[in-house]
Amino acid sequence: MLVASKGVLVQCDPSIKALIIQIDSQSPGIILEELDDTHLLIQQDKVEIVKNELNKLLSKNIYDPFEDDSRM
Amino acid sequence: MDDSDEEYLSGITPSSRFSSIVPESPRSKEGVSTRTRARKSGTTDDNLKGNNGGYSWEDEYQRSWDIVKDDDQQGSFESMVQQIIENRKKKIMKNPATPFQRGIIRTLVIVIDGSNSMAEKDLRPTRLTLSLNYCIDFIIEFFDQNPISQLGIVLMRNGVAHLVSEVSGSPQYHIDKLRQLKIRQHNKFEPSGDASLQNALEMARALLKFNFGTTSNNTKNSKEVLMIYGSLFTSDPGDIHKTIQSLVKDEIKVSIIGLSAQVAICQEIVNRTNHEPKLSRSKHYGVILNESHFKELLMDFVTPLALTEKEKQEEASLNNGVPIIKMGFPSKVQPIVTSTIGNTDFTVEFPQLNASFPTQGSDESKDVVEVNTNTTLLSSTTIGYQCPQCKSRVTNLPTICPVCGLMLILSTHLARSYHHLIPLAPYKEVPIAESYDSEYCYGCQLKFPRGVKPGTHPGVLESMTSSRYRCFKCTNDFCINCDVFVHETLHNCPGCENN
């Protein structure tokens, strides 16, 4: 029987997908379905949470070459 | 290789690598006698000399933008640029106005070097990639100018010759093959091994003999080989001079573009097959200076070769005249009919015969380039053409009707070369004057600049050129842009057409 389930499709590269899975493992109930390497289906109301978490994770390892420079 | 640099251009001097395979013959003895440097610079290398009397490579390198001297920058810089642009456009147009007699049905085999030397990166990204790219451009251009000619491609690799594409008249087929080759140039068909001139030429000869022409024993059409050669030597299984002999016998003309340095055997092949004096530097053999020169040399082969004097005489003496071909001009039919019955659209597809890419019996050489069997050509938008003689349908033109053997061609194909037949006379620049008769360009209605008194406004564009170019047949004035457009693209004078 045909089923249409509501959700938000997330398109991202595999590395980001791995991060989202990590986020999901810490606070479960975000991911509804893993579709393929670059697509995920997630809960509609969790999108913002994912984005925020992702930003936190990503900015942990950013090197800013101008940082030292600007202190002069 | 142990010769000094200056010597590499001398026509016949055998390089040490070649001496092993060039047998002693009267010719090469002559070559020895020309070895003295004094003699050489007196004869062959005169045209290499630059303005200062020295060799051109001793001159300071002139960049195109260095020519602009911005001594007084305000305003005149722009007019200078303008003038340079105009000059360039004038240079572009060098269409000969006298009708040439050309052997227009050409059969050409392109031989591409795929040996080790083609992996060199002196041409970006590599010699082979660039050659393939240029070849694709060349093929488009070639069929544009030579609509009913045919072409085949051979690759020299690992000492043998591979067939890339059969001799055929469909540009798309060749381009597809070259693209496939390009895609696989890093895994399966990376440049490797040595090049063999003999093998390649023999294969080209076989292709030309087998595929030649549509009417039998017709000797007046041109058979050509165009070779892009990056190596400096050849490793052949037999005597290459025998191959040259048979090429001459079969009246196959070979042209070579060298990518690294001039090679004696190439010069010899070219001179012998084109019936040129033994020591002369022929225009059929060019060694590239840079990428743009490469392209220039390649594109020179697009225009049909003019018949040599000797051939013209032969023709006159033989008195059997030129062949004439019977051709059909098919009408286009749309085999798809969409009809609406009730609520659903039906698409009716009529069965059709696909007579494209005739391979003329020979197998596709699958080891070199794989054939894409999944022909997307046959999508629902396929159009067909109907042979006017037997009403059978084909999908690709030009081709030979598979049923009645009539050569089928679109009239637009033939007409592509008509501007060679009736070249348009060049326009002449109107001399600078104080006032002119014409105020607007006849073609594009552009307003011409007004005339100025000579000498009164130095540095202004108006005092350098009148910007008017006149057709002497209809005495209408055109602007430079229309002049270029009319001669390069349109090949019609709008003024003359209106009378």
């Binding site: - | 990204p125 286009k332 349109l490």
Partner: protein
């Protein structure tokens, strides 16, 4: 390796269609003979009325849309719009009742057309060939200027700076489009009632077709009158244009505003009215008649309907053997009959 020099971002990644301005060139063939034949059906006046509305609708599509209007007759071809010296007309055409952009164009065209027709009545001679190719050539040179040259000026010379800033001499956040990639598109519409195909000059027409092909200008053809014109059919077919033979031109405006209203940027998305059967006939160099099986000189590729001794274009003599071969009439029927009887004739045929 090759991709290394490519820019990371391309401006036009979106595949949705753009609303680029376009140039419409209309060529109206007023050759008297053709219009005379269909005088009971429609007159030039009626067609021009429709065309004017058609022009207006083209102008209404986009503020920057352009039109050009050419007229062709056996006498000569001429630009009606743009008119070279139009200052006096513009100054006094202050109109109360019409959008001014339309008004200017319409007024100029009507005035010039009347003038031209009057001129033509005086000077018309018989036996002159159509100058349609001249009109197409003119249209193409004009198109060339609008399409490529104005654009290249925009990028190469300093005038680019001034012309673009003209548009928005507003200072602060000015330069709405200084180097924007808006580009003109162009198409051409030929309206002809001329039934006689052979009046067209073949080679120049072919040259025009190729030029249009290269410039990606579609040539649309609205053919009035009684017969299809195979050359004009070829022209539109080769340039991805639309060819319609309008036998009943009463509702011309409806046809113009649907089938001939497909802008160049819409063409990839719309099913064009089909040219189901195009006759790619060529013109014989000797007789000027259209042929579908002909003989072609292998030196210069000129097409002939009969077999002469010498090529009419390049003057080279033909191979007599081949001429002989071609002149022979196939006798296949006979051969089959004879096969049962004997094989005397059979040998002959096989030679």
């Amino acid at each position: 390796m090759e991709a290394i020099s490519d820019r990371l971002f391309n401006e036009h990644t979106t595949d949705n269609l753009q609303d680029d301005p376009s140039l419409l060139t209309i060529i109206l063939d007023v050759s008297p003979s053709g219009w005379f034949k269909i005088q009971n059906v429609i007159s030039i006046q009626d067609v021009v009325k429709s065309l004017i509305v058609y022009l207006n609708s083209h102008l209404s599509l986009n503020n920057s849309n352009q039109v050009a209007f050419l007229i062709t007759s056996p006498l000569k071809s001429k630009f009606l719009y743009p008119k070279l010296d139009n200052s006096n007309i513009i100054k006094d055409s202050v109109s109360k009742d019409m959008y001014r952009q339309f008004k200017i164009v319409d007024d100029i065209i009507l005035e010039e057309l009347n003038q031209f027709l009057n001129e033509m009545i005086d000077k018309i001679e018989n036996n002159k060939r159509s100058t349609l190719t001249g009109a197409i050539s003119l249209g193409l040179t004009y198109t060339n200027r609008m399409l490529t040259l104005d654009q290249s000026i925009l990028t190469t010379t300093a005038s680019a700076m001034t012309t673009t800033s003209l548009a928005n001499s507003n200072q602060n956040s000015s330069n709405i489009t200084s180097s924007s990639s808006t580009s003109m598109k162009s198409r051409m519409l030929i309206i002809s009632a001329n039934d006689d195909d052979d009046e067209l000059t073949y080679i120049p027409l072919m040259n025009c077709i190729f030029a249009a092909q290269k410039m990606k200008v579609s040539i649309d053809v609205a053919k009035l009158g009684f017969k299809n014109s195979s050359y004009l059919q070829q022209a539109s077919d080769a340039t991805n244009g639309i060819y319609l033979h309008i036998e009943n031109p009463k509702g011309l405006i409806q046809v113009l505003s649907t089938a001939f209203f497909i802008e160049p940027n819409l063409r990839p998305f719309i099913i064009l009215p089909a040219n189901s059967n195009v006759n790619y006939r060529a013109s014989c160099f000797i007789t000027g008649k259209a042929v579908d099986i002909g003989y072609v000189c292998s030196v210069c590729l000129c097409i002939m309907s009969k077999l002469p001794e010498k090529c009419p274009a390049c003057n080279s003599e033909f191979d007599k053997k081949i001429i002989e071969q071609l002149n022979r009439v196939p006798q296949i029927r006979k051969k089959r009959k004879l096969e049962s009887n004997g094989n005397g004739n059979n040998e002959n045929n096989n030679n």
